[in-house]
């Protein structure tokens, strides 16, 4: 039992290692499946178990995993649609004009976001005044969003909510052009594409404090 306790307390995540018999069988399975890995991982395991005074270190969770993942081809990945990043990586080909976006906005967006983008059952998309330090701060696309690429990403993923596949990429660029133009962030007569979208400097680009390092496990 002492050994079982040590195994589960080393945070290997496999709480099902409860009995000696099962542990042994899974060790064998792990060795069969990942003979190459065991050698790599035994050293840190041994260090973790020094206080347990066991004769042989058990395999880590990595060695115990059955390794059932199916390799995925680059063709399959290409068909999934790329993740969009603020630098424009992943944005598709295409472009659109604000004048076309205005029509699409009336057709697909106005019923929830308001005829003038003032917000209704869905958030305000056009306008927003005053500093974000105001007592009643107005957090909008114009005043708050740090990246314009997020707008395209949101459209491509889930807008309009009833049928996110309704819009083409050109139409999405047209909607972005319309909304950015109405917010004074893009010239209304210029076609918007991926390169120009990712180059738009949103007013609140540097307004965020990155806390991502907090709450992470210590290395």
């Amino acid at each position: 039992m002492a050994m079982a306790r040590c195994v589960t307390s080393m945070r290997d995540g496999t709480g099902w290692i409860a009995g000696q018999g099962r542990l042994t069988s899974w060790r064998q399975a792990g060795r069969r499946l990942t003979a190459g890995l065991v050698g790599i991982v035994c050293l840190p395991v041994g260090l973790l178990l020094t206080s347990c005074a066991t004769s042989a270190p058990p395999p880590t969770a990595v060695a115990l995993a059955p390794h059932l993942g199916h390799p995925v081809t680059s063709d399959t990945l290409a068909g999934l649609g790329a993740q969009i990043y603020p630098d424009g990586h992943g944005l598709p080909a295409g472009s659109g004009l604000a004048v076309d976006g205005a029509v699409l906005y009336g057709q697909y967006c106005a019923s929830c976001h308001g005829r003038e983008g003032q917000g209704a059952t869905a958030p305000e998309l056009i306008g927003g005044d005053g500093p974000l330090s105001a007592a009643e701060a107005d957090k909008t696309l114009k005043t708050y969003w740090p990246y314009a690429t997020t707008l395209f990403d949101t459209l491509a993923r889930g807008m309009p909510p009833a049928n996110p596949a309704a819009l083409s990429d050109d139409q999405r660029y047209a909607l972005c052009a319309f909304l950015l133009a109405r917010n004074g962030l893009w010239p209304a007569d210029r076609p918007l594409d991926g390169a120009s979208l990712s180059a738009v400097q949103m007013p609140n680009r540097h307004g965020f404090i990155d806390l991502s390092a907090r709450g992470n496990p210590q290395p």
Partner: protein
């Protein structure tokens, strides 16, 4: 004089905590009809007279798939939330996924992109953990200038606690082989909004679970069936439901739910971003807003405490709006990043009182008072409200929400 009593005194008194509620039929109630018998059932349901205990739903009339439902915390006991009462926050509805055609993809900065079918995942070693799960927007009515007059669940009920069972994610990450330059993972759900969040790789390699089971049974549809990401102690929106894709990368995607939403605007105009950990929080569920004490006497004050940083170390309770505090009893088990139930015996003399609780976690983080939280964060933060909750007990026994 009202006072908190030693627990033993409470038990010796032999008195029972009771609120003004419909009287339950006693065993020997005269004139009561003989109970009807029913047969077996394939899946049990709450007793008919308990079916008023439900999640209240708040959804967008023009977009019914966007909204929340609240856990009725005031009606529940212990630390585990029944799966059917676990809170919901959906951005565009609940997908009904065919498990036969479900797969999780891990790709990006890996040695070998991999697909895991559900049958594959069900063969991996599992781990079970009881963990609270809280929406970043929970309790946000606390930022309002006036105290909201609603039951504790309709105010603070975007938090629940379940035993989650699943596969440690680091097993699958190791199998795919992580590029040492990678720092982030973009997790995507299979809902209609294709909800995506950026997560630090270090957390996913530490204690993230791919949950397949909730409270012993397979996940409920609305909690991500067939696969949900569980990140102990972290904000609910990061714990992607219907998880279908993990892209390993070196930078965040800056998606809508980590820029426009789930960020906290501060008084100086800057905003806290990627604030993942839910802070220490506690509240008294009984007595709580909307209930009524039938008269002076002995009562049990009971509530819930939790912290995203670790286990609960101590809960104090006050009957005078925080001027004096006494320790409450923590009921076992007290688990890491899980609900902890606290209890205290309270002798009420029938005069007005303000009941409060405050929690300290094992790292020493203390739940803030409301004034201190607002002084630091302002009132436009919207997310991560964790201030001390105050219930005023009036002379007639009515309990209502106040700021104190």
């Amino acid at each position: 004089m009202s006072e908190f009593l030693d627990r033993r005194a409470f038990l010796q008194a032999g008195l029972r905590w009771s609120l003004v509620m419909p009287a339950l039929p006693g065993l020997a109630a005269e004139g009561a009809p003989a109970p009807q018998s029913t047969g077996f059932s394939n899946y049990g349901q709450p007793a008919p007279s308990e079916r008023h205990v439900i999640r209240l739903i708040g959804s967008n009339p023009r977009m019914p798939g966007n909204g929340v439902s609240w856990t009725p915390l005031e009606a529940l006991e212990g630390i585990l939330t029944p799966s059917g009462l676990h809170f919901e926050r959906h951005h565009n509805g609940i997908p009904e996924i065919d498990p036969q055609h479900f797969a999780l993809l891990i790709h990006g900065m890996v040695q070998q992109p991999l697909r895991f079918d559900l049958t594959d995942l069900l063969r991996y070693p599992r781990q079970s953990r009881a963990l609270f799960l809280e929406c970043g927007g929970n309790s946000n009515a606390g930022w309002h200038a006036e105290p909201m007059q609603k039951p504790v669940g309709a105010f603070h009920g975007l938090v629940s606690c379940s035993e989650w069972t699943g596969v440690p994610l680091r097993l699958l990450l190791a199998e795919a082989g992580i590029d040492p330059r990678a720092r982030w993972v973009i997790a995507t759900g299979a809902d209609t909004a294709a909800t995506e969040v950026s997560l630090p790789l270090a957390k996913l390699q530490d204690d993230a679970l791919l949950a397949l089971y909730q409270n012993g049974e397979r996940l409920r549809l609305e909690n991500g069936y067939p696969l949900r990401l569980i990140l102990p102690g972290w904000e609910g929106v990061r714990q992607i439901k219907w998880l279908t894709r993990l892209e390993v990368t070196d930078r965040p995607a800056m998606s809508r739910n980590e820029t426009a939403q789930y960020t906290q605007l501060l008084p100086d105009g800057r905003a806290r971003q990627f604030d993942f950990v839910m802070g220490p929080k506690s509240l008294i569920t009984s007595p709580s807003h909307g209930q009524r004490l039938p008269g002076a006497g002995l009562y049990e004050v009971s509530g819930l405490a939790w912290s995203g940083h670790g286990a609960v170390a101590a809960v104090d309770v006050s009957q005078d709006g925080g001027r004096h505090w006494v320790p409450a009893r923590l009921e076992a088990p007290v688990l890491d990043r899980c609900f902890t139930r606290f209890r205290a015996a309270w002798q009420w003399d029938g005069t007005p009182a303000v009941l409060q609780s405050r929690v300290r976690d094992q790292l020493g983080n203390l739940q803030p008072g409301r004034a201190a939280l607002i002084a630091e964060r302002g009132r436009n933060g919207y997310f991560h409200y964790n201030a001390v909750v105050s219930w005023a007990v009036d002379g007639d026994g009515a309990v209502r929400h106040v700021y104190a």
